[in-house]
Symmetry: C2
Subunit: 334 residues, 2 copies
Amino acid sequence: MKKPSIKDIASKAGVSPSTVSSVLNGKAKHMRISDVVAARVKKIALEEGYQPNTIAVSLRTGRSKIIGLIVEDIANPFFSALARTIEDEALKLGYRIVYCSTENDLERGNDLLYVLGQTHVDGYIITPVPGMELKLKELKDQGRPMVFMDRFIASLEVPCVLINNYDGVKQGMDYLLKRGYNCIGYVSTNSSQVQMKARMSAYIDKVNTDLQKAPLLLEIDFLMDRTKIKAAVKEFVIDNNLDAVFFATNYLGVVGLEIINELGWKIPDQIGIVCFDDTDLFKLYPPGITAVRQPVQEIAEHSVKMLIDQIQGKLASSESQLLLKGELMVRGSA
Amino acid sequence: MKKPSIKDIASKAGVSPSTVSSVLNGKAKHMRISDVVAARVKKIALEEGYQPNTIAVSLRTGRSKIIGLIVEDIANPFFSALARTIEDEALKLGYRIVYCSTENDLERGNDLLYVLGQTHVDGYIITPVPGMELKLKELKDQGRPMVFMDRFIASLEVPCVLINNYDGVKQGMDYLLKRGYNCIGYVSTNSSQVQMKARMSAYIDKVNTDLQKAPLLLEIDFLMDRTKIKAAVKEFVIDNNLDAVFFATNYLGVVGLEIINELGWKIPDQIGIVCFDDTDLFKLYPPGITAVRQPVQEIAEHSVKMLIDQIQGKLASSESQLLLKGELMVRGSA
DNA sequence: CTGTTAGCGCTTTCAG
DNA sequence: CTGAAAGCGCTAACAG
């Protein structure tokens, strides 16, 4: 009841191991193996439930068909959705993923890089944080394939897949403006992350060009408790007589909607709402809301594809950058 | 600049590969290799930055030193905390973890088992769900080491690490009773999960023996939105004149506390509160609250240890069960 | 068209 | 006390 090896298949089929190998790797044509033999080999392999020993393959070929995925915090819904999608995409192309989550701990992040190194991953998909720069450069200089995702490190010429946060907010603002709202507030966290800055600047640009009113910004400490966020949003909306609110973050949107709800305001008639949808909570939003959805599927597809191209040498590790746009979704009335 | 192999070290040290292998695997004594040679080999290995090729080791020894961890939903804070802790524990013992999250999708779960099978993991740590039974039995019958965590499947004699949910609620109730509360309500989800049932029955037992009042239960749909949960809790607490509430879940606790807070009630003077702390949010709770904390660290330690013992054949794959108790934590005043 | 051979890097007897 | 040799399962040249 042991797993059959290539030898077992070979002897059962009356051919040599190398023939079996060629057939099973789709090199029958190239090796000019007769169709009848190929068919017999395939049949027997199937019957015996043959599966190549991936370890042996790795040792021989020097590639593991494993991708290391390093994100900041796997508990963050955005990253966990991304991770899941990436895993699926990779599987389709015959690659496995091993995850690692740095938990915002630099030392841990660097350890992971090290551990993954000895796990012989073929390449990395990484959400880089500033402190990893040195180790990352080292890996890159060793010629290890990698792609950055969602963030990047300017000093490193690594292909990356980014989200056009500016465009996302622009789309949302255009929508609100077209619908006739003209006093639009913007609620964001005061994070220093480059994504948040990009979103903010889109808002400011839009407000400056298309609206007579001055921009109205509310920046909130991300870790503040819900009650405080709600109070702040309430005051913000009422004091400024807003007729629409743009929430720069999923979380803020969810919390903000609660207070709008408690005030009994109808969306989109009494107030317009747009949320940036970092996760996939859109379906839970009440009707009338518009969301800028992150292109999770596309990010996953492209990251995986770009990495595998690199691994297979199809693409020089050039500075190719991909800027993916979100999609505006209007939640219809229930 | 290539990674040095055992041969490189051997020739640099003027010995044979096998000697290097013995020394580096701590078998110098057993092989009666002279201390001077051993020292020289170690020194050179260090200088050259030698690291054994894990793939080659796996191929040769038949073990990968990799553990497959399968949880239901990695985005669930309880599981992600657990996963992180398990990873650390495993690393200490020289094992790596590869995660998989079934996302409550049975087919996906079974696929994962398959994929992990060909990844040559040495064993599994699993949070089993009913539908996996067949595949799991198959693996077990093949002699693959595994341990169940947090849940178990009664028909399979697999070692498992469980949490004593009954005891947790009992501890919490004892605390409340000792403090003199005598109208204690219980807020839970109406989930059919065995853990939730166990918690509930502890509450009922306690109430029946130590309290003259009938049990007061509020069961809530887990996916209901926050506003509704809050309204329900508010009504529940006021209508029944409760002087204490036991929240059977972290999430319910957090939401419930919001309304308590909005009502302006002081804890623990005006109302007593105990939460079951599935995640590690305890530190965020306001002062005066008591929580039953899940023993994440212990679960991780024991799961890993039990699995590795199995892998190393130290323990027959017997029906050893471990029932771990939570710990009562009182959050002091800020 | 197919088989033989040589290793990938390591561990483990078994002879010295 | 140490080294030589075999072989884990597979693939890729090179011979037939």
